[in-house]
C-alpha cells in the first residue's frame, strides 16, 4: 500500500488553504483581502503541485496511488494545471460578487476552491466510486454557487433546478457505476479495463446498460443534449460573478471524467460507445446552435452555445484515446474564453444579477471599446474564426474525428459552426453597429482583478490562435495512463 502525499498534493494544498481560510475568518474576521490571500495560496500551491506532477508523470510516466484509487498522469496533472488557474480567474472575475455578499464571501471563495479541487479529482480518480465522490464534491459546490445570491433574480430557481436535476443525473450515474461493478466485479477503472480486455462477456447486457447510464451522468455534467436542459436556466439565473466558473469548471471536470471513463475502463468497448457519443455530439451542436440563435439574453445564449461546444468537444472523443489531446486543447481554450466572456457580462450587467439582456450591449464599442473588442474576440473565437484559439480547437477536434472516419459528424459540426455565427455575429453587430442603448450610461469601471480575468483569456485566445504548437504538444502528453 503506497501512501504518497505528493500524489494528492493539489488536493492537500486546496484543503489546507480552505481550512486555514475558514479558521482565520471565524476567529479574526479579516475580510475579503485575507480571503484573496488564502485563495491565492491554495490555488497557486495546487497549480504548482499539478505542474510538478506534470513534470514527473506526464505521458508514459503516469502512476497509480492509494491502491489504484488515484491516477497521477499527464491527464490528471494537466486537468490540475488547467482547473486551478481557471478557478483563480473565476474568482477574480466574480470578486464583485464576493465583496457584494458580505461575510458570506468567505464561503463563496471556499466553494469555488473546493469545486476546482473536485474537478481535479474527477480527472485523477482511477476508481468509479471515488469518481462519484469527486463528482459530488464538485457538483454540490456548484449547486450552492449557482444560488449564492439567494434573493437575486432567479438565483434560487437556478440553484434548485440545478440541484434536483443534478441529483437525478448523479443517481443515474451511480446506478451506472453499480451496474458496471456488477458486470466487471470491480469499481477500479484499470481493473475493469484489464478485465474487459481479457475476458469476453457472453451476456454483456448489464455492462452495456451500465455504460449507457454512465454516459447519461457524464453527459449531464458537460451539458450535452439532451441532458443540457439545466444549463440555460442555471447560467441565466446564477449570479454573473460565478457563471463563468460554473461553465468552465463544468466543462473541465465533466470532460475529464468522461474521457477517463470512456478511454480507460471502456477502452475495449469503443465500438459500442463511439456511435452513441457521436450521436450526442451531433445532437448537441445542432440543438445548442438552433436554440442559441433565438435568445435575447447573453448568458442564456452563451449557455446554449456551451451546449454546442460540448458537442464539438465530444467530436474529438469519438476518436477514443487518440482524441483526448484534442479534447483537452478545445476544453482548455474554451474554458478561458467562456470565463472571459462571462467576466465581461458581469461587468456590463453586474456580478450580483443573473440576467444579462443583449440590449445592454448595444453600442458597447462606443462606450468601452476595449471591452467590446475583447468580447468580439471571444465571440469570433467561439465561432471558430482562424487566428484565434477557437479555430485551432475546432481544427483539432475535427481532425481527430476525420481520422476516426466520422466525416459526417465533422460536416454536421462545421455547418452548425456556421449557424453559430448567426448569434456570435449578432452580439458583435450590437456592440459595433448599433447606437448606444442609453447615451447617459457611462463606461463601467473595471477593477484590476476583473481586467486580469478578461485580459489573460484574451491573450491566451490570441497567442494559441497564432502559435498553438506548444499547447498542442502538451496536450498530446495529457493522456490517461
Amino acid at each position: 500500500m503506497n501512501l504518497d502525499f505528493l500524489a494528492v498534493a493539489p488536493t492537500i494544498a486546496i484543503t489546507a488553504a480552505v481550512v486555514l481560510l475558514l479558521m482565520v475568518d471565524v476567529v479574526w474576521k479579516p475580510g475579503p483581502r485575507w480571503w484573496a490571500v488564502a485563495a491565492a495560496l491554495g490555488l497557486v500551491g495546487a497549480t504548482t503541485a499539478s505542474v510538478w506532477q506534470w513534470v514527473e508523470h506526464r505521458a508514459a510516466d503516469g502512476e497509480l496511488f492509494f491502491s489504484d484509487m488515484l491516477a497521477v498522469d499527464g491527464f490528471s496533472s494537466f486537468a490540475g494545471m488547467l482547473v486551478f488557474p481557471v478557478a483563480g480567474l473565476g474568482l477574480m472575475a466574480g470578486w464583485g460578487l464576493v465583496t457584494g455578499v458580505g461575510r458570506r464571501g468567505a464561503e463563496f471563495v471556499v466553494l469555488v476552491m473546493i469545486a476546482a479541487s473536485g474537478a481535479h479529482l474527477m480527472a485523477a480518480s482511477a476508481n468509479l466510486v471515488l469518481l462519484f465522490i469527486a463528482l459530488e464534491v464538485f457538483s454540490l459546490s456548484l449547486y450552492v454557487l449557482a444560488g449564492f445570491t439567494r434573493g437575486g433574480d432567479g438565483a434560487d430557481e437556478a440553484a434548485l433546478k440545478y440541484f434536483l436535476l443534478g441529483a437525478l443525473a448523479s443517481a443515474v450515474f451511480l446506478y451506472g457505476i453499480a451496474l458496471v461493478f456488477a458486470a466487471t466485479g470491480t469499481t477500479s477503472m484499470y481493473g475493469a479495463q484489464s478485465f474487459l480486455e481479457s475476458t469476453l462477456i457472453l451476456r454483456p447486457g448489464i455492462l452495456l446498460a451500465g455504460i449507457a447510464l454512465l454516459l447519461v451522468g457524464l453527459g449531464f455534467k458537460v451539458s450535452a443534449a439532451p441532458f443540457h436542459v439545466w444549463a440555460p436556466d442555471v447560467y441565466q439565473g446564477a449570479p454573473g460573478g460565478v457563471t463563468g466558473f460554473l461553465a468552465a469548471g463544468a466543462k473541465i471536470g465533466g470532460f475529464a471524467a468522461m474521457a477517463r471513463v470512456l478511454v480507460v475502463p471502456l477502452e475495449s468497448r469503443i465500438g459500442d460507445w463511439a456511435p452513441a457519443v457521436a450521436a450526442l455530439a451531433a445532437l448537441s451542436v445542432v440543438v445548442g446552435t438552433l436554440f442559441a440563435i433565438a435568445q435575447t439574453d447573453l448568458k442564456r445564449m452563451l449557455a446554449y452555445s456551451s451546449v454546442a461546444h460540448a458537442g464539438f468537444i465530444m467530436t474529438a472523443l469519438v476518436a477514443g484515446a487518440d482524441g483526448v489531446g484534442d479534447m483537452w486543447f478545445y476544453v482548455a481554450t474554451y474554458a478561458v474564453q467562456v470565463i472571459g466572456a462571462f467576466a465581461i457580462a458581469a461587468v456590463v450587467s453586474g456580478a450580483m444579477t443573473g440576467k444579462s439582456p443583449l440590449s445592454d450591449y448595444a453600442g458597447l464599442a462606443v462606450r468601452s471599446p476595449m471591452l467590446a473588442a475583447v468580447m468580439a474576440l471571444f465571440m469570433l473565437a467561439m465561432g471558430g474564426i482562424p487566428l484565434t484559439a477557437g479555430f485551432v480547437g475546432k481544427a483539432a477536434v475535427f481532425r481527430a474525428a476525420i481520422n476516426a472516419d466520422y466525416l459526417w459528424l465533422v460536416i454536421v459540426g462545421l455547418v452548425a459552426a456556421v449557424g453559430g455565427l448567426f448569434f456570435y455575429l449578432r452580439l458583435i453587430v450590437l456592440m459595433y453597429m448599433q447606437p448606444l442603448s442609453d447615451e447617459s450610461a457611462s463606461a463601467p469601471g473595471v477593477p484590476l482583478g476583473v481586467r486580469l480575468a478578461i485580459g489573460l483569456p484574451a491573450v491566451v485566445t490570441i497567442v494559441f490562435g497564432f502559435a498553438p504548437w506548444p499547447l498542442l504538444d502538451w496536450v498530446r502528453d495529457a493522456t490517461p495512463l
Partner: protein
C-alpha cells in the same frame, strides 16, 4: 519606309493627343487647323509612299511596332499594299477635306476642340483598320472606329436623341462584332494564328469549304453591322443626329465602307466559300433596293442621303460578293467622293437654313447658294450614273461584273438596275425639293452661301466626283491592274468588254435618265402631298426600326426586369435569405420546448437515458 508608314498613323495620333491635352486652350480655329494639318500630312505621306505603286515598282511593306499578342501569333504591325494604300488615300484625302470644312461648320461650338480630337481619333482608328496586318489589329481598328463613331454621333449629348443614337450605333455594331469575333475564333482554331499572311496563304490548304463558308458568313455579319447592311442597317439613319461633317466622313465616305474593305481583304477566304460570297452579293442587292425605296419617301435631307448611302453600300457588297473586288473598291472610292460631297452640301444647306432639315420647308435655294447648288448637282448626276461622271463608271462596272457571272446572278443585275432608276429618282426629288420651285421656308429666314472655308472642300470634291471615275474605265482599267497584286491568285470577275459592255452601260444610263425624268415630271410644279399609306410605310422605313425597338429594346428590357426583380431577387436570393431566415425562425419555434419546468427537464433527461439504454442494449443484450 516603315517609319513613313508609321507616320501615316502617328501624325493624326499625335494631333489627337495634342488636341486632347490642349484642344480647349488653343480653341478656335487653331484646333481645327492642327487637326486638318495632321490629317493632311498623313495624306501627303500616303501619297509619297503610294508613288511606287503607281509606278508599278512598289511591293508590300510592313511596319512592325511591337510584339503584341504572341499567343495569337500577331504583333502590332502595319501592312502597306495597294488595297490599304487606296483606302488610306481615300480616308486621309476625304478626311482632310472634311476636316477643313468642319472648321467652318463647327464654328462657334462650345466643344470645338473636343470635336476635332474625336475626328482625329476616328482617322487614327480607321487607318489602323485599313493598315492592320492581322485580324486582331484590324479588329482593334474595327472597334475604335465604332468608339469614335459613338463619340461623334452623340457629340451633342445634351440632345437625348443624339445620345440614344450614339448608343444605338455602338450596340448594333457590337452585334455585328460578335460575328467578327466568332469568325476570329474559327480562323484561329484553324490556322493557329491571326496574321494575314499565314491565313491568306494557308487558306487554300487548310480550309474546308464548310469552315470557309462559316467564317465567310460570320465575317459578313460583322461587315453588315459596320456597313449598315440588312438587317443591321438601323443605326445609320439615326446616326444623322451627329454633326453633318461626321455623317459625311464616317457614315458616308469611310467607316461604313469598312465592311466592303474587309470582304475584299478576305477575298481568299470567300473564294473558297461560294455560298458565303453569294450571300454577300444577295444581301448587298437586297439592301440596295430596300434602302432606295425608303430613301424615296424621306423628308429629312440627311435621312435621304443616309438611306442612299446604305443603298450604295449595297452595290459595293454586290460587287465584292461577285468577286469583282476591284469594282467594289472602285465604287467605294467614287462613292466616297460624291456622297461626301452630297453630305457636305446638305450640311451647307442646313447651315444656311439655320439647321432646317425638312426639304418640304426648303426650295428655291439654287439662287441663294450657287456654289453649293452647283457642286451638289455634279454629285447628283454622279450618283445617278450619268456619264462621264465618277458614279457612272464604278456603278456600271459592278453591274457589268454581276451580269458577267451569268445564271441567277442576272437577277441581282436586274435588282441593281431597278435600284439605279430609284436612285436617280430620289436624288432628283431631293435636288428639286431643295433647290428649285418656290421658296417654302418660313419668313425672316435669309439663307445665304456658306463661307469659303466650307465651299472650297465642296469644289475639291466636285472635281473628284467628275474625274474620279476616269482612273478605271473600260478603256483603261488602271485601278483594276493597280489592285491586281493584292488579289493575286484569286479567280476574279472582270466586267465584260466589247459590245456587251456598251449595251449594259446604255441600259443603266437609260434607267438613270428615266428615273431623273420621272422625278422632274413629278416635282417641277408645286410639291405634291406625299401622304397616304404607301408614303407612310416607306417614310417609316417599313416600320422595321419600330419592330426592333419593340422586340429587342422593350422586350429585352422586360425580360431582364423579370430576371432581375423576380427570378434573381425573389427566386435565387429569396432562397438564400430564406435559408437564413428559416434557421433563425426554427430557433424561435424550438424555444417553447425549454418550458422552464424542472419536471419536463427531468423528462428530457430520462428520455435521453432511455434512448442511450436502447442503443446500448441493441448492441448485444438480445
Amino acid at each position: 519606309m516603315a517609319l513613313l508608314l508609321s507616320l501615316i498613323v502617328l501624325l493624326p495620333l499625335a494631333g489627337m493627343l495634342f488636341l486632347f491635352a490642349f484642344g480647349k486652350r488653343i480653341g478656335e480655329p487653331g484646333a481645327g487647323i492642327v487637326a486638318t494639318l495632321t490629317v493632311g500630312g498623313s495624306f501627303l505621306t500616303a501619297v509619297v509612299l503610294a508613288l511606287d505603286f503607281f509606278t508599278g515598282s512598289g511591293a508590300t511593306e510592313t511596319a512592325r511596332w511591337f510584339e503584341w499578342l504572341p499567343a495569337f501569333g500577331v504583333a502590332a504591325e502595319l501592312r502597306w499594299d495597294q488595297l490599304s494604300a487606296l483606302m488610306t488615300l481615300v480616308v486621309t484625302g476625304v478626311g482632310s477635306l472634311i476636316h477643313l470644312y468642319s472648321i467652318g461648320y463647327m464654328h462657334g461650338d462650345a466643344r470645338f476642340g473636343r470635336f476635332f480630337t474625336y475626328m482625329n481619333l476616328f482617322i487614327v482608328s480607321m487607318l489602323i483598320l485599313v493598315l492592320a496586318n492581322n485580324f486582331a489589329l484590324m479588329f482593334v481598328g474595327w472597334e475604335l472606329v465604332g468608339l469614335s463613331s459613338y463619340l461623334l454621333i452623340s457629340f451633342w449629348f445634351e440632345r437625348d436623341t443624339a445620345a440614344a443614337a450614339g448608343k444605338k450605333a455602338f450596340v448594333v455594331n457590337r452585334v455585328g462584332d460578335v460575328g467578327f469575333i466568332v469568325a476570329l475564333m474559327l480562323i484561329f482554331s484553324v490556322f493557329g494564328s491571326l496574321g494575314f499572311d499565314t491565313v491568306f496563304e494557308g487558306a487554300r490548304f487548310h480550309l474546308t469549304e464548310g469552315m470557309a463558308t462559316a467564317i465567310g458568313l460570320l465575317l459578313l455579319i460583322g461587315a453588315a453591322g459596320k456597313s449598315a447592311q440588312l438587317p443591321l442597317y438601323v443605326w445609320l439613319p439615326d446616326a444623322m443626329e451627329g454633326p453633318t461633317p461626321v455623317s459625311a466622313l464616317i457614315h458616308a465616305a469611310t467607316m461604313v465602307t469598312a465592311g466592303v474593305y474587309m470582304v475584299a481583304r478576305t477575298g481568299s477566304i470567300f473564294e473558297l466559300a461560294p455560298v458565303a460570297a453569294a450571300t454577300v452579293a444577295i444581301v448587298g442587292a437586297a439592301t440596295a433596293l430596300y434602302a432606295a425605296t425608303i430613301a424615296i419617301a424621306q423628308r429629312d435631307i440627311k435621312r435621304v442621303l443616309a438611306y442612299s448611302t446604305i443603298s450604295q453600300l449595297g452595290y459595293m457588297f454586290m460587287g465584292v460578293g461577285a468577286a469583282a473586288y476591284a469594282a467594289g473598291v472602285f465604287h467605294l472610292m467614287t462613292h466616297a467622293f460624291f456622297k461626301a460631297l452630297l453630305f457636305l452640301g446638305a450640311g451647307s444647306v442646313i447651315h444656311g437654313m439655320a439647321d432646317e432639315q425638312d426639304m418640304h420647308r426648303m426650295g428655291g435655294l439654287a439662287r441663294r447658294m450657287p456654289v453649293t447648288f452647283a457642286t451638289m448637282a455634279i454629285a447628283w448626276l454622279a450618283i445617278s450614273g450619268i456619264p462621264p461622271l465618277a458614279g457612272f463608271w464604278s456603278k456600271d462596272e459592278i453591274l457589268a461584273a454581276v451580269f458577267e457571272r451569268g445564271g441567277s446572278w442576272k437577277i441581282l443585275w436586274g435588282v441593281g438596275l431597278v435600284t439605279v432608276l430609284l436612285t436617280a429618282f430620289y436624288m432628283t426629288r431631293m435636288m428639286w425639293l431643295t433647290f428649285f420651285g418656290e421658296p417654302r421656308w418660313e419668313a425672316g429666314l435669309e439663307p445665304r452661301e456658306s463661307p469659303r472655308i466650307m465651299t472650297i472642300p465642296l469644289l475639291a470634291l466636285a472635281i473628284l466626283s467628275v474625274v474620279g471615275g476616269l482612273v478605271n474605265t473600260p478603256f483603261k482599267l488602271t485601278l483594276e491592274h493597280f489592285l491586281d497584286p493584292v488579289f493575286e491568285g484569286l479567280r476574279l470577275v472582270h466586267a465584260p468588254g466589247g459590245s456587251v459592255a456598251w449595251i449594259l452601260a446604255g441600259v443603266s444610263v437609260a434607267a438613270g435618265i428615266i428615273g431623273i425624268g420621272a422625278a422632274i415630271m413629278r416635282y417641277r410644279g408645286p410639291v405634291p402631298a406625299e401622304s397616304g399609306p404607301g408614303w407612310r410605310l416607306l417614310g417609316n422605313g417599313y416600320y422595321v426600326d419600330d419592330l426592333y425597338a419593340g422586340v429587342f429594346a422593350r422586350g429585352g428590357k422586360l425580360g431582364a426586369a423579370w430576371l432581375a426583380f423576380r427570378f434573381d431577387a425573389r427566386g435565387i436570393d429569396g432562397a438564400v435569405e430564406g435559408v437564413g431566415a428559416l434557421t433563425r425562425r426554427v430557433g424561435g419555434w424550438l424555444r417553447p420546448l425549454q418550458t422552464g419546468f424542472v419536471r419536463s427537464y427531468g423528462l428530457a433527461i430520462v428520455a435521453g437515458a432511455v434512448g442511450l439504454l436502447a442503443w446500448f442494449l441493441s448492441r448485444g443484450a438480445f
